[in-house]
């Protein structure tokens, strides 16, 4: 072979060997294997009564993104200290991302030390205070309070009482938004947060009631049999929707739980893959009433297809 022919042959053979190496590596490295993400979700809503649609969204996202979702439940019987310890243990476990869904005790998040956590943490339903590294998927609770107040004013309410049984940051924000509008519109209102107090159950006649959370709504609905108060609230369950349809509840301010759950896992995957640096996603909230209960967009929000 001539010199140029030898050169060409050696060059092509070298490229061939490199290509073969790349092909072999790609073949045996399982590069095409679909990655399964390990995500842990820490929740205190073990029954899922108030967030069943959230779980539907989580399930759907887990299928779409090949996520092995590990649920760590914080029981209501655990003390805050115990819950915090459990949280911190899970945060140190071998996982790709962590979702924190604290519906009952969202303020627990403020007590956690996340400085040593290397995996992405997503807060579901709560805007995480104190750490800019935590992604959150939530609704604007203050806006929910405002919307509730506006609906009541639209219905001609001139006096109202505020009831809540979960004393946490989210509910406080709702109250703040509600009170802000009421004050602007000059509507009288009183507020009672202690469900065990006798005042809590006292609902004056002709006064509208604003319930800021689902447990309060459920309690008040059952108590409504004894009164004719117009009941308004924030949040929903299937039972509450039935009451809404029947007229026992006049308005509900609802959020798209399915989207929230879906976006939480999607955000976790984006964080694992270093995509999408948006740290706080605020979803819209909606007004639900009996007349439009089965219309869009409420139909897909309240009754998601799963």
């Amino acid at each position: 072979m001539g010199k140029s022919e030898k050169t060409a042959f050696i060059l092509v053979t070298a490229i061939l060997v490199c290509l073969l190496s790349v092909i072999v590596i790609r073949t045996f490295s399982g590069h095409d294997d679909v990655r399964v993400y390990r995500v842990s979700i820490i929740t205190d809503d073990v029954q899922g009564d108030y967030s069943q649609n959230v779980w539907k969204g989580l399930d759907r996202a887990a299928r779409d993104y090949n996520i092995d979702l590990q649920v760590i439940a914080l029981h209501s019987g655990m003390t805050t200290e115990q819950q915090r310890n459990s949280l911190e243990r899970e945060l140190e476990a071998d996982t790709d991302a962590i979702i924190i869904n604290l519906q009952q005790n969202p303020s627990l998040s403020e007590q956690l030390d996340l400085s040593s956590i290397s995996v992405p943490v997503i807060s579901l339903g709560t805007v995480w205070n104190g750490s800019s590294a935590i992604r959150s998927i939530s609704t604007d609770d203050t806006e929910m309070g405002r919307m509730l107040a506006n609906e009541m004013i639209h219905d001609g309410v001139t006096r109202c009482v505020i009831r809540a049984s979960l004393d946490n940051a989210r509910i406080r924000l709702r109250e703040a938004g509600f009170v802000d509008v009421m004050q602007q519109q000059g509507v009288d209102y009183t507020s009672e947060w202690d469900a065990s107090s006798s005042e809590w159950a006292k609902l004056p006649s002709g006064v509208a009631v604003a319930a800021l959370d689902e447990p309060t709504l459920e309690s008040l609905v059952s108590m409504r049999k004894t009164g004719q108060q117009a009941l308004y609230g924030i949040g929903y369950t299937n039972a509450l929707l039935s009451y809404l349809e029947s007229g026992a509840i006049r308005r509900l301010i609802v959020e798209d739980d399915y989207a929230m759950g879906y976006l939480a896992l999607k955000s976790a995957v984006d964080a694992i893959e270093n995509r999408n640096t948006e740290y706080g996603q605020i979803l819209a909230c909606y007004v639900a009433d009996a007349a439009h209960l089965y219309d869009e967009p409420l139909r897909h929000i309240l009754f998601p297809i799963s």
């Binding site: 072979m1 001539g2 140029s4 022919e5 060409a8 042959f9 092509v12 053979t13 490229i15 061939l16 290509l19 073969l20 790349v22 092909i23 790609r26 073949t27 095409d32 759907r60 369950t237 299937n238 039972a239 929707l241 039935s242 349809e245 029947s246 007229g247 798209d256 399915y258 989207a259 879906y262 976006l263 009996a290 209960l293 089965y294 869009e296 967009p297 139909r299 897909h300 929000i301 309240l302 009754f303 998601p304 297809i305 799963s306």
Partner: protein, 631 residues
């Protein structure tokens, strides 16, 4: 081509490509092509034939491989796409049939309820709940509930048993209104949440309502009513579950207006987390389409479900469908380079095989060029053309050798002849005799004669040498023979006389030296020896046309014709004189000037002999006479 700079009215400058017409672009392209091809041709002319053959073969093979590969790839890719497309279409068709079968089953159920149950009872007196319950139980996996309403929306019968929700106006429901508007048809409503019956578990069920107008017998009259069958939404969506099309494709179901009935991402679409091109797809007719949506090219297959006007849409993303994935491309590249390597080896072998004979031939010719041809023959191998070429070159080389040898031989003969002629001039006998005469003259105290003889001798030898020249003027040659005759006359005691006659114009012509003296010598030895003073030798030189005739005539004994014949053929041994002979003179003349020149002999016994030298006319300024007259 360089960009030009221009300035607009406001003084701003900009650089831009010069504007050219299409014709100018074509001409530019042609000149670039000519330039490139000229460079390639020039390059190939400077390269060895082996390299050119190798490169040509390799490029041709690569081009053929690439073209073939691309054609095969395109063809295979197209066929595969068509196969996948037809399989997908078959799949969509099968799902369409499943949905159609499902809907027809439900239609049959509705008809069965109507014709076998409702029509056969008097609703005023009989209850149809048990029959409905029976049918419901049979179709419980598909049916959520069955209900019969009168035209006012009052519930007449239901299965399973249920209480109507308070405040629900059935007559406002679209399914109710449609049924009464078009009583001849059965109506499938889009999926919705069933809200007719009290649900103690607060379940909200997604159903598809099948409604139809019915005639209800009530006592002696009939009234219109509506039969409602709420189908479980899941029973329809199950027909689409686990159906997946190629390359991550999927199916969805929509009504004639494009509203989604089922979509694998329906909830995400409703939440704004996903998108679908269903509104546009509603405008497609049945069959295959290609669309671009969200930057992605997709193949769409549409089938209309009978009776309802619903449409099943299959979506198959085109990207990475067949052979565009990186792994396949790497494999194709690997195979291509592997074949390229094989091509290099094969072409190297072939080009070597083809051009080796040419190389050998070239080396052989080079050997001839450098003068080594005598050591080896010209290579004659390889293909027929190369062998023929080699044989032809061998023939030419042989001819060249022969010609060279001839020239060398001729040159040697010339040298030998001249050497012989020179030798004859220093013949010891002649020199001895000449010196003897000189001594005798000195002894006889004839110094003048002695000087005359010495001078003649010296001049004789001087002209013989002529400073090494082979061509001398005719006058010098005749002076030479005159000097010779002077000496010989003295020796032969004036037995003969001689005369030299020369045209004036002949004096300055050129002639090869030492050609006349041998004739004079022969004339003396063979003609004058027996003469008693009346011998005469006449030497004449004249021009006859383009020839110079130098004659040496004597009136001696003469020769017979057979002797004359032998004179130029045999090396006649000469007993006296220089011994060079006529043959030498004749050969020298022919060597120098060609066969048409030479010696003519005319002789008659007892009369005399005349030997004429026929030579070409050569002017004295022309010394290149080696080939003059030679043909």
């Amino acid at each position: 081509m360089k960009r030009q700079t221009s300035t607009n009215d406001s003084g701003q400058t900009a650089r831009h490509w010069p504007k050219r017409s299409i014709r100018e672009w074509i001409e530019l392209g042609k000149s670039l092509f000519r330039d490139l091809s000229g460079r390639l041709v020039s390059r190939s002319e400077r390269s060895s034939i082996r390299y050119t053959v190798f490169l040509s073969f390799t490029v041709s093979a690569i081009v053929a491989m690439v073209l073939t590969g691309v054609l095969f790839y395109l063809n295979f890719s197209r066929q595969l796409e068509q196969t996948i497309q037809s399989e997908n279409e078959m799949l969509v068709k099968q799902v369409n049939q499943s949905v159609d079968t499902y809907l027809r089953d439900m239609l049959r159920l509705s008809n069965a309820i109507y014709y076998n149950v409702i029509k056969n009872v008097d609703i005023e007196n009989d209850s149809i709940n048990s029959e409905l319950q029976l049918l419901y139980g049979t179709y419980v996996s598909y049916v959520e509930n069955i209900a019969l309403y009168d035209s006012d929306g009052n519930l007449l019968a239901t299965a399973p048993p249920a209480l109507s929700k308070q405040g629900v106006k059935v007559t406002d429901a679209p399914w109710f209104q449609k049924a009464l508007d078009r009583t001849e048809n059965l109506h499938f409503s889009p999926p919705g949440i069933q809200n007719l019956f009290v649900n103690a578990e607060h379940r909200f069920i997604r159903v598809i309502s099948l409604s139809s107008a019915v005639e209800i017998t009530s006592g002696k009259s009939t009234m219109q009513g509506v039969l409602l069958i709420d189908l479980k939404y899941n029973s329809l969506t199950e027909l689409f579950d686990h159906v997946s099309l190629a390359n991550g494709g999927y199916l969805y179901l929509m009504d004639a207006n494009g509203e989604l009935i089922y979509h694998p991402e329906q909830q995400l679409i409703a939440s704004g987390l996903a998108k679908e091109n269903n509104i546009v797809a509603a405008t497609y007719h049945d069959g295959g389409h290609i669309e671009k949506f969200e930057g992605e090219s997709r193949s769409i297959i549409v089938r209309t479900v009978g009776y309802t006007g619903w449409r099943i849409v299959g979506v198959i993303p085109q990207q990475g469908l067949v052979l565009n994935q990186l792994d396949n491309l790497l494999l194709v590249l690997f195979i291509f380079l592997f074949l390229f390597d094989i091509v290099i080896l094969i072409n190297s072998y072939i080009s070597r095989k083809l051009t080796a004979p040419i190389k050998h031939l070239e080396q052989s010719v080079q050997s001839v060029e450098y003068g080594d041809a005598g050591k080896a023959a010209i290579y004659q191998g390889g293909s027929y053309e190369i062998r023929h070429l080699g044989a032809s070159i061998q023939g030419m080389v042989d001819q060249l050798h022969q010609l060279t040898n001839d020239i060398v031989l001729e040159h040697e003969q010339k040298q030998k002849s001249e050497l012989d002629a020179l030798q004859s001039q220093i013949n010891p006998h002649f020199l001895y005799n000449a010196l003897d005469i000189i001594v005798w003259m000195i002894e006889k105290e004839q110094p003048k004669e002695a000087v005359h003889i010495v001078t003649a001798l010296a001049r004789l030898f001087r002209i013989s040498l002529s400073r090494g020249k082979n061509i001398i003027p005719v006058r010098d040659e005749l002076e030479h023979v005159q000097n010779y005759l002077t000496i010989q006359k003295m020796r032969y005691k004036n037995k003969f006389s001689y005369e030299i006659v020369m045209d004036e114009e002949v004096k300055n012509l050129s002639i090869i030296k030492l050609v006349v003296q041998p004739l004079a010598e022969n004339a003396i030895y063979h003609g004058m020896d027996f003469m008693d003073g009346d011998g005469k030798i006449t030497i004449s030189a004249r021009i006859d046309g383009e020839e110079l005739h130098l004659s040496v005539a004597d009136n001696g004994l003469g020769m017979t014709p057979d002797v004359v014949e032998r004179l130029l053929i045999e090396n006649t041994p000469v007993s006296k004189g220089s011994g060079v002979g006529l043959k030498n003179v004749n050969e020298r003349i022919k060597l120098y000037f060609g066969d048409q020149y030479g010696v003519l002999i005319e002789s008659e016994p007892d009369v005399g002999t005349c030997i004429t030298l026929v030579l070409p006319v050569i002017r004295c300024e022309t010394e290149e006479v080696g080939n003059v007259g030679k043909k």
